[in-house]
């Protein structure tokens, strides 16, 4: 076998999402939009979900203007998920990639009202479950799927973030459980865990303070997160499943439970 020829073939395959249809559940925040732009730049057709219709419309317009394919698929509320999935299938015929990117929820102390705690769980964990539940059967039938769950370092148990710790740790377990359940069906399920990432509502002084506590001495960007999501979304990333990759500038090395 000519090793250079096989390498070239592998390279072409590895860098290609042009046959992939990706649903991004939560495309309204900076990270979600960054993921959408990145997957589109690698050739994926996109179906975007989120609560902010105007934000989704303008993101779709931007992607289409740049030569990509994208539609607004609807809200990411649990009740809307069956409709969203039907809409994507009728437009693109299939779903290859699912990215769960729950929107920003403020971290709260354990003293928060139980009803608020339940709201956080619903927005983060129940929604992620809802999308997995909706897309896995057809992925199984087609024997192909790439699922990426995006959440935050708070899952390791940061103080005064009880709601986030519980919801994110739920997604951590869900990732591993569904990965094992679907491993023999050509489906991979992985997590990308965000550290401190720049966002439009983060003050410069706060960003500098955060940067000082991170081993690489800077905060991350939506593009850093998007690139990691893109790696797991590739057809060629076939032997990685159930895994957790932190995009955190090395901050996870301060914690146990992060390997």
């Amino acid at each position: 076998m000519n090793s250079s020829a096989s390498t070239a073939a592998e390279t072409a395959r590895a860098s290609d999402l042009s046959n992939s249809v990706a649903v991004i559940a939560g495309a309204c925040d900076d990270c979600g939009a960054g993921i959408a732009r990145y997957l589109s730049s690698r050739g994926a057709a996109l179906a975007l979900c989120g609560a902010d219709r105007d934000a989704l419309d303008s993101l779709v317009a931007e992607i289409v203007a740049a030569g990509g394919q994208a539609i607004v698929a609807g809200s990411e509320q649990s009740a809307a998920i069956p409709d969203v999935v039907d809409r994507v299938r009728s437009k693109f015929g299939k779903i290859d990639v699912l990215v769960n990117n729950p929107g920003e929820v403020a971290g709260r102390s354990v003293e928060l009202p139980a009803s608020e705690f339940e709201k956080s769980l619903a927005a983060i964990l129940t929604t992620a479950f809802g999308f997995l539940h909706a897309v896995v059967p057809a992925m199984r039938e087609r024997r192909y799927g790439r699922i990426i769950n995006v959440y935050g370092l708070a899952y390791l148990g940061l103080p005064a973030q009880a709601n986030l710790a519980a919801a994110y740790a739920g997604i951590f377990g869900l990732t591993r459980s569904v990965a094992l359940e679907t491993a023999a069906d050509g489906i991979t399920v992985n997590s990308v865990v965000k550290g401190d990432i720049a966002r439009s509502n983060l003050a410069a002084a706060d960003a500098d303070k955060l940067a000082g506590q991170i081993p690489v001495k800077r905060i991350g960007t939506a593009a850093d997160v998007a690139r990691a999501v893109g790696f797991f979304a590739l057809p060629s990333t076939k032997y990685v499943t159930g895994q957790t990759l932190f995009v955190c500038g090395g901050r996870s090395a301060y914690f146990s439970m992060s390997v």
Binding site: S3, T7, E10, A183, R227, A228, Y239, Q243, V247, A253
Partner: protein
């Protein structure tokens, strides 16, 4: 994802995963140092690299010896002037139950897998600090989680995880990221030599039911080695078909 202008050392790259990783880096424009302790295997590998028109030199060196590592670093600087990427891939295994392992089994396994990565990281890091840029990728193993009959190997590969996290904390401020890949069952020449019943037994432990290949590991190395991966450090990425999630 291009590596033009970057210089990479890949240890243990005359064959297998190391060779495929070095090929993929060279193909995308990196100048590559192909290293192995086996000078004969190294000759045919470097000949193939040259034939492909890739920028590469071969350095025969035992990375468990400081003098050899120092010479490899000097030859790299003499040839290419800088070092951007280090892939600590060289490894070997002496397996067996605790009662049957010798002191020599322990020493050679720990020396090549762990001490070698320490010496190479130490050898290159000054050149990386100088440029405020570096990518170190350690090839550990899923077996660092523990495996019966693998005391020296598992210990050495676990050591690489500690080294990865420690160097992340030490070198991060200098633009250097340090990450770790933990391969599971990968198709290598050694696999082909196994009896069928052993193959079936091992595959039954992999959730995907399949072997990985050298490109699965090379893909992960290139992901971490990329200039754009500057916000990812201290990580252990298992490329094991989900085997890290299950016992044994």
């Amino acid at each position: 994802m291009g590596f033009a202008g970057k210089v990479a050392i890949v240890t243990g790259s005359a064959s297998g995963i190391g060779r495929q990783t070095a090929s993929r880096l060279a193909e995308r424009g990196a100048a590559v140092v192909v290293n192995d302790v086996d000078a004969t295997k190294l000759e045919s590998t470097i000949a193939e690299f040259k034939k492909n028109g890739w920028q590469a030199i071969a350095v025969s060196a035992d990375i468990s010896k400081k003098a050899d590592v120092d010479r490899m670093v000097q030859e790299t600087i003499a040839a290419f002037g800088r070092i951007d990427i280090l892939v600590n891939n060289a490894g070997l295994e002496r397996a067996g139950p605790l009662r049957k392992l010798s002191e020599a089994d322990w020493d050679v396994t720990v020396d090549v897998n762990l001490k070698g990565a320490f010496l190479c990281s130490q050898g290159v890091h000054g050149h990386m600090v100088e440029k405020k840029y570096g990518r170190i990728i350690n090839i550990s193993s899923r077996a660092w989680l523990g495996g019966a009959g693998q005391a020296p190997y598992s210990s050495a590969k676990a050591g690489l995880v500690g080294l990865t996290r420690t160097l992340t904390l030490e070198l991060g401020r200098n633009g250097i990221t340090v990450n770790c890949i933990a391969p599971g069952l990968i198709h290598t020449p050694m696999w082909d030599d196994l009896p069928d019943k052993d193959k079936a037994f091992l595959l039954s432990k992999v959730p995907t039911g399949k072997l990985g290949d050298a490109d699965d590991i090379a893909d992960a190395v290139l992901f971490f080695a990329d200039e754009e991966a500057g916000f990812i450090s201290g990580q252990v990425l298992y490329v094991c078909g989900g085997r890290s999630l299950v016992a044994g």
